[in-house]
Each structure stands twice: as structure tokens, then as C-alpha cells.
Amino acid sequence: MMDKLKLGVFELTDCGGCALNILFLYEKLFDLLEFYEIEEFHMATSLSEGSHYDVALVTGTVSTRRDLNLLKKARNHSEYLIALGTCATHGSVQGSVELPIREKLKAVYGDESNPMHALDPKPVVEHVAVDFALPGCPYDKEEVFQALIDIAKGVEPVKKDYPVCLECKLNEYECVLVKKELPCLGPITYGGCNAACVRSGLGCIGCRGPLPGEANPASEYEILKDKGYDDEYIVRKFKTFARWEP
């Protein structure tokens, strides 16, 4: 039998969801273990024995010097690195506050001294080159499963090339932007979540970041403006998950 690939899961600063989502694969996690050996995954195991990884999954933003060191370790010791989740690909919510780090620390902790070496939070892709970027807050767990299987079989994982809007049409969900006038970012958001928010009858909040290329944010902006949403509201909504567009 072929040697198993060595997998490392590295968590920078985040909510834990992108690592947890791997555990939510349930039985399918054991299918992955036919191809992979987990060398590093601190949420799940006390073992940490790797010095080389065939595949590294990195979640979270670089928010501290510790995060940056860990990211460099993951990059320098891995063949294929996946930036996993919107924190790693676009900065997500914690990357969206546009203030210098010291001002943020002062506002929240009452003190701008920085003994724990916090950095201005940025996505993984701003610091190192990545081999694949899989956004989503969180990403759909099937996506990471498929990507890891593809890599194990020597196939390059496929990037989605359609917006959330298309998934609504496939599911025949009622359009909440047109019918309910809800601020829905589905037309310009990178698909792959199977339109989770619209399934709840609510507008897409754009947690997977903008679809590069074909989507038309200017037209989305005009539509929301026509529906009575003010400038500040729309701009903040656009930037909530994706201030750092790759």
C-alpha cells in the first residue's frame, strides 16, 4: 500500500469553526484517514510529531506574532498549503475593522501597550503564497473533503466559478432580494454554501467573499441603494467578511 500523506492542521486566530468543521465530517473523516496521517491538529490530538507535511490546512487570520511564526512554519515545512476559511482567505470579521492595531487595543483593552505582540489582523494570503484558497465562514465541509481527496489522487482541486445566486436558482428558493427586499449579497458572493442563508429565508451575508471576475458589485450597490439602504450600510456590509480581497 502507498504511504499515507502527512497532514497538518494549523489554527491561527479564529472562532475554531474551520478546524471544527473537519471533525464534523464524522465517518468521512475516517475515509480521509485512508489517505492521510494527521501529524498536527491541536484541537483533536495531543500528538504533534511532524516536521514535514504533504498538505497543511491553515485556518484563521495572522493576529499575533505567534500566528505569524506558526504560519511560516506551516509554509516552510509543507508541499501544498490550503488557506482554509474566510479568515485565512479574506480576513473575515476580525480583519474588517479599519483602525491601526494600537488604536484598537486602546479602544478594547484600555491600553495601547502590546505585551502579547498583537498584529493588525490579516489573512494568510497576505503573508505567504498559498496553493489553494477555500473561503467560507465556515466553508462547506464537503469542499475540504473533496479538495483533500483530489490532492491525494494527484488532481488539482477545482475552484467554484459561480455565485451563491445560482445555487438559489438550482434549489428553487424564492429570491429574497426581489421578493422581500432583503439586503442579499448572493449575486456577488462566491458560491459553494448551497445558499445557506437564503434557505433560512434571509439574505446572503457574503461570508464567502466576492466572486472574482464576473460578479458586478457596482450593480449590486445600485440595487441596494434603490431599495433604500444607505451608503454606509452597504459599504460596511460589503466589507464585513472581505476587507482584504486577494
Binding site: 491541536h42 484541537m43 490530538t45 493576529s63 470579521v93 434557505r199 433560512s200
Partner: protein, 415 residues
């Protein structure tokens, strides 16, 4: 001399401990949260109230629904909105789903490897596959409820001020009724397994919880009367950690499963109540390690209560009507029991319906002092007797007993 331990494993988030040794004695232990700050208070400042619960959910994946519900409660109270029983029961059902998901993850996948001496559940599965499978089955059921009520396994946006985006169907409620009954047998077995864990860590003497079992209007403790957090809990910044420490009337205290059982046993369901009585003496010693056993008893509670709620809703039928929300200037506090303890979301909202102030206090921050006290006791007990490896193992077990959620703990502070 300062011994810095490796970062904790099999806990949510990034943290570690430092042991301070002077003249050959353990002088102090510091619990350092090395997860970076996330600035949620700045993120929600000036945001329209309607979008806030979806953002707050992102504080934590394991307990996102607790954050959404606490946020919604804080906002509704600021506007004086009252919801009917149907909405209240569905929210409770969501919190129960989260409790099941989180406790099952913690007990079966993170703690059980300590019971059997494995580094993780995956390797444990080679000998104890059945147990790992049971844990995954229970966890998946909790997640299914989170998906139905919350909108997605992680970070759904279905819980809104005034109600829900989508209401569950009769078939979905019937599934919950059936499954909760079928899984009860497994949860009872978990109680027997986790009752075998001995006492370690410190003994808590003060306990704090919400006045309802999974949410409330106010907080209660082992002393007289109910209160708002501002009346008896004070927070202090730490220079060595991205978290604040809280004390109850100046003293260490415990929140979470053990605190809930000890303060609210009369609210338990029949089987869970009996199991609590059976183990009452042990639990009442307050050893923090018994939080694991308390979680197992709560799994039984959660499955029985999910069954009750599903039955009640099926009897009454689902109306699916949201309550209108009239935004206006106001202040409100939402209190929820996240799986690992009391969670507070406090908001002031301006006349335009935008957040003017927010303060979030999480269970892991509330337990911080108790965690350090427990680490100190264990380090003193083991210093000079155990090698480094055994020391790290036991200190990790001690922290793990609190089921800490470090992602949650790093943005607890007020503006």
C-alpha cells in the same frame, strides 16, 4: 524559574500555562491565552441591530447559537420586545442542540482519550470504536438541531430579533422527538463512564448561573438573590493574556455544567434528576474535574428536554409568526448558558437602531481565575513527584475539565 508548558491540545483555541517556581516551590501558575484579539466590540459598533447576531455568532463556532441567542435577547430587551412561548421554546431547543453537540464533542472526542490513555479519539477508535461512534452519533444529532434552528451546523443566521427566518416543519420536530428518545440509552452509559474520573483541580466554593436552566433574566449564585452581572462580577485586565479575569464579590467562582447542576437541580428532567441525586455527594465537593460528570448528566437532561419540547410543539402546532420589532433607544442584557457556562451580551442601542455600546462576557473568561487556581493546586500536588510529561498531561486534563473555549475568551472587554 518559569516553566513554560506547550500549548494546550484537545481544547478549542490557543492557550498555554506558565509555572513559576521559587526556592523549589510552585509559587504561581499563569494561564496565558495566546489566541489573538478579535475586536468584536469594535466590529459591531455602529452596526444596525438586525445584522448584529450574525456577526456575534462568529465569536465561537462550538457555541455560535448561544452567542446568537444571547445577542438577540440583549437586543430585544433593549427594545422591550417580548416573544411568545413558541419562539421561546424553539430558541431553547436550539440551545439544547448546541449543548448536545458541544458536550458530546468534549466528552467523547476530547476527554475520553484521557480515560483510556490515548493521544486522541482517532487512535482511541482502534480499540474503542463503538464508543467513538456513539459520541459521533450524539454529536451529529445535536448538530442536526443546530442546523434546523440555527440555519446551519456552524454560523447559521436563522435566529433573529423577533423570531426566526425559517421555522421547523412537523417532520423535523418528529425526527427530534424520535431521535432524542433513541439516544437516551447512550447518554446514560456516558454517565457511568465519566463517573469513573477522580477528583482533581481546585474545589470551587462559589457558583454562578442564569436564573432559567439555559437562559434567564438575571444571574443567580450560591448566595441569596438574583442579580445583574454588573452588581457582583468585576473584571480586570491581564498583561500576560488577551483576556480579562472576573471575580464574584472578589472571589474565584465557577460557571458551567457543575454550577448549573448544583444551583438548578430542581429544574432537571426526571432521569437527569435521578442521576444527579445518585452522584450529588460527589458533585457537591466542587472539584472542577467533576464538571465532566456533570456534562454527562446534562446530556441526559438535554435529550429528555429536547423530547419534551418537540412533543409540546407538535401538540400545539407551529404558527411560525415573528413578533414585530420596533427599534428605538434602549439598553438590554441577554443571559444565556452556553454549554461551558454563563454568557452575557450587553448592548446600548441608539435612536437609529444602531449599536452604541456592547459588552460581551464569556464563560471561559469567567472561569479564568478558577482555572488558574486549579492549575496551581495540581502543579503543587505534582511538583517533585511527577516527570514533565506526567505534569503536562495532568495540567491539560485540569484545563480540559472546564471545557474552555479560548476563541470566546479573547474579546470579553467593554468599550
Amino acid at each position: 524559574m518559569i516553566i513554560e508548558l506547550r500549548e494546550f491540545t484537545r481544547v478549542e483555541g490557543n492557550g498555554k500555562a506558565e509555572i513559576v517556581i521559587e526556592d523549589g516551590e510552585v509559587k504561581d501558575v499563569r494561564l496565558k491565552i495566546v489566541e489573538g484579539p478579535r475586536f468584536f466590540e469594535l466590529l459591531t459598533l455602529g452596526r444596525h441591530y438586525y445584522d448584529v447576531p450574525d456577526l456575534e455568532a462568529r465569536i465561537c463556532a462550538i457555541c455560535y447559537l448561544s452567542h446568537s441567542v444571547a445577542s438577540v435577547l440583549g437586543i430585544e430587551r433593549a427594545f422591550g420586545v417580548e416573544v411568545p412561548e413558541e419562539i421561546a421554546l424553539l430558541r431553547e431547543l436550539g440551545l439544547i442542540g448546541e449543548l448536545i453537540e458541544s458536550h458530546a464533542l468534549h466528552l467523547y472526542l476530547l476527554v475520553a482519550p484521557d480515560v483510556f490513555g490515548y493521544p486522541d479519539a482517532i487512535r482511541m477508535a482502534t480499540k474503542h470504536g463503538e464508543l467513538v461512534k456513539e459520541g459521533i452519533t450524539i454529536k451529529a444529532f445535536g448538530n442536526r438541531i443546530r442546523e434546523l434552528i440555527g440555519g446551519r451546523e456552524i454560523h447559521g443566521i436563522n435566529v433573529k430579533p423577533g423570531g426566526f427566518g425559517r421555522y421547523p416543519t412537523v417532520e423535523e420536530l418528529e425526527m427530534i422527538e424520535k431521535e432524542s428518545e433513541a439516544l437516551l440509552r447512550l447518554a446514560k452509559r456516558a454517565v457511568r463512564l465519566f463517573a469513573s474520573l477522580g477528583p482533581y483541580g481546585a474545589q470551587a466554593t462559589h457558583f454562578v448561573a442564569t436564573d432559567g436552566y439555559l437562559w434567564g433574566e438575571k444571574l443567580i449564585s450560591d448566595e441569596e438573590g438574583s442579580f445583574h452581572y454588573t452588581e457582583r462580577i468585576e473584571e480586570r485586565s491581564l498583561i500576560y493574556s488577551f483576556t480579562k479575569q472576573s471575580r464574584y464579590n472578589g472571589e474565584a467562582f465557577l460557571v458551567g455544567s457543575l454550577a448549573r447542576l448544583l444551583l438548578k437541580s430542581e429544574m432537571l428532567t426526571p432521569t437527569a434528576g435521578r442521576l444527579f441525586e445518585e452522584h450529588r455527594e460527589k458533585l457537591a465537593t466542587g472539584y472542577v474535574s467533576y464538571n465532566n460528570l456533570a456534562q454527562a448528566i446534562e446530556l441526559v437532561y438535554a435529550l429528555e428536554r429536547a423530547n419534551e419540547i418537540a412533543k409540546t410543539l407538535l401538540d400545539r402546532g407551529i404558527e411560525g409568526e415573528n413578533v414585530p420589532v420596533e427599534p428605538g433607544e434602549g439598553e438590554g442584557i441577554g443571559y444565556v448558558e452556553a454549554p461551558r457556562g454563563v454568557l452575557v451580551h450587553h448592548y446600548r442601542i441608539d435612536a437609529n437602531g444602531k449599536v452604541a455600546y456592547s459588552n460581551i462576557i464569556t464563560p471561559t473568561a469567567l472561569n479564568h481565575v478558577m482555572m488558574e487556581a486549579s492549575l496551581l493546586e495540581e502543579a503543587r500536588r505534582l511538583h517533585g513527584k511527577a516527570d514533565d510529561r506526567a505534569m503536562v498531561q495532568r495540567l491539560e486534563e485540569t484545563v480540559r475539565a472546564f471545557d474552555p473555549c479560548i476563541s470566546c475568551s479573547v474579546h470579553i472587554v467593554r468599550l
